[in-house]
Amino acid sequence: MVVSVGGGGVGVGVAVGADPSLGGPAGPGPVRGALRGGRRDVLRGLFAAAGALALAPLVAASRPPHGADDPGEVAFDETYRGRHIRGIKTTAGRASGADQWHVTVDGRQLELMRRADGTWLSMVDHYRSYETPLEAARAAVDELGPGQQLREIPMGHAGTMSGMDDMGGMGEMDDMGGHHGVRP
């Protein structure tokens, strides 16, 4: 099933993992549980998240490279310890095919980074990693003190981050001043 979200000329297609040909939600994992439990909410979340990403071309991968990422796991939307956490997989037409996730906690973006073994860590919880973006998001909530919110990420920063894997060509990196060990 594909939900098309037209956004002012920016074509945004979001594949929701309910397509039987992709296996669909299966097993008792928390992510799948979240999808099964609140499908309408998930869809609402997708619309909202897609809206927030209106400038980013958004095409969900049909079959991600890592086995740990079941094709069904393309989004989550739940309340965890009183925090509203949402995530949506965004694969921005990149040759590498590596997954990107846009995750928010109470509407503020949570930066996620990937480890070489395919696990995930966030800016809030930087010294260990988690199997899935949802686990990383929950762990970030665990570390957020009561009443604390994520700081707003300056415009442009997160957008550049999501393009990092595109820097396979070193000439491109040099053009961008990229070969300096600093996050763009």
Binding site: V124, S129, E143, G145, Q148, Q149, M164, D165, M170
Partner: protein, 288 residues
């Protein structure tokens, strides 16, 4: 003449006072927050593209060595007698003792919001407002020992398992390197449970609060922790004479880590130095 970095638990009252005063002064001048920002900006993970220098890479040790030297220089511009003390977490393992006293770092955070309310870095002093953070919280937070889900500091035996490895680092030169002194000390494991965070990483989690996040530098214990990590590099060198920083040569084009890690004689951003030049610092400082 090399200066001396001391065990924090051996500092005199005057030494503690001068260290704290210099820290507060560079914070007041805005210099401290530049260090926080730099650490955030250089945290590139190995599942992303681009060059990694500070973490999940062989240069974890020289990067932080130079980072400490820069902080120490800033402190010594304020007070030339100050050096960065180290926190021996294999020895000082209690939340109420060691560096966690009112005259040095202050204690753990209060239960309600993990805010540190004791010591010179408590928010209410007005001297330690967090400006470069992951959250919008302006106060320093800690959860020593992780009260709601307790963990222990790394043991001497765990640290020993890193020191005993005779090879500095091994392919694939990242957080998945199963052997080598560097990753055993940096502490990236695999799987779940306590094996997933060791030594350096585990200490960040034991302290909790801001120390767990990308802006960990906001807690002054960051420097005392990394001074102790840095001391391990020197101990490892003494234990394994002739053992050097690896890789010795730049990665070949086409290899997975080509231009993503720093070899022994390559420049270590953001500085104009190489790991080679940071292996021997005996002319600058030594550890007591």
């Amino acid at each position: 003449m090399a200066y001396v970095r001391k065990d924090a638990s051996t500092l005199t009252s005057a030494e503690k006072r001068r260290f704290v005063k210099a820290m507060l002064e560079i914070k007041r001048r805005g210099e401290y927050d530049e260090f926080v920002r730099m650490h955030i900006d250089f945290y590139v993970t190995d599942g992303e593209g681009g060059l990694r220098t500070a973490h999940m890479a062989p240069s974890f040790l020289p990067w932080h060595r130079r980072f400490l030297l820069d902080l120490e220089r800033a402190l010594r511009r304020v007070d030339a007698s100050v050096t960065v003390p180290y926190w021996d977490w294999t020895k000082d393992r209690k939340a109420g003792a060691g560096p966690w006293t009112k005259d040095l770092l202050g204690g753990t955070g209060r239960r309600s919001d993990r805010q540190v309310t004791t010591g010179p870095f408590a928010y209410a002093t007005g001297n330690w407002t967090i400006k470069e953070g992951v959250t919008d919280g302006e106060f320093l937070t800690r959860d020593l020992g992780r009260a709601r889900d307790p963990i222990e500091l790394p043991t001497k035996a765990e640290l020993e398992s890193a020191l005993a490895d005779p090879v500095y680092d091994v392919s694939p030169w990242d957080s998945t390197s199963a052997k080598g002194f560097r990753n055993r000390l940096e502490g990236w494991g695999s799987g779940r449970g306590s094996a997933a965070w060791r030594n350096h990483n585990r200490v960040h989690r034991w302290v909790g609060g801001v120390m767990v996040g990308g802006a960990s530098v906001n807690d002054p214990v960051f420097w005392m922790h990394h001074a102790f990590v840095d001391l391990q590099w020197s101990r490892w060198q003494r234990r394994h004479p002739g053992a050097r920083y690896l890789p010795a040569k730049p990665m070949e084009p086409g290899s997975a880590q080509y231009r993503r890690i720093v070899a022994r004689h390559e420049k270590l951003p953001p500085w104009d130095v190489t790991p080679d030049s940071l292996e021997d610092v005996s002319r600058i400082y030594r550890y007591a």
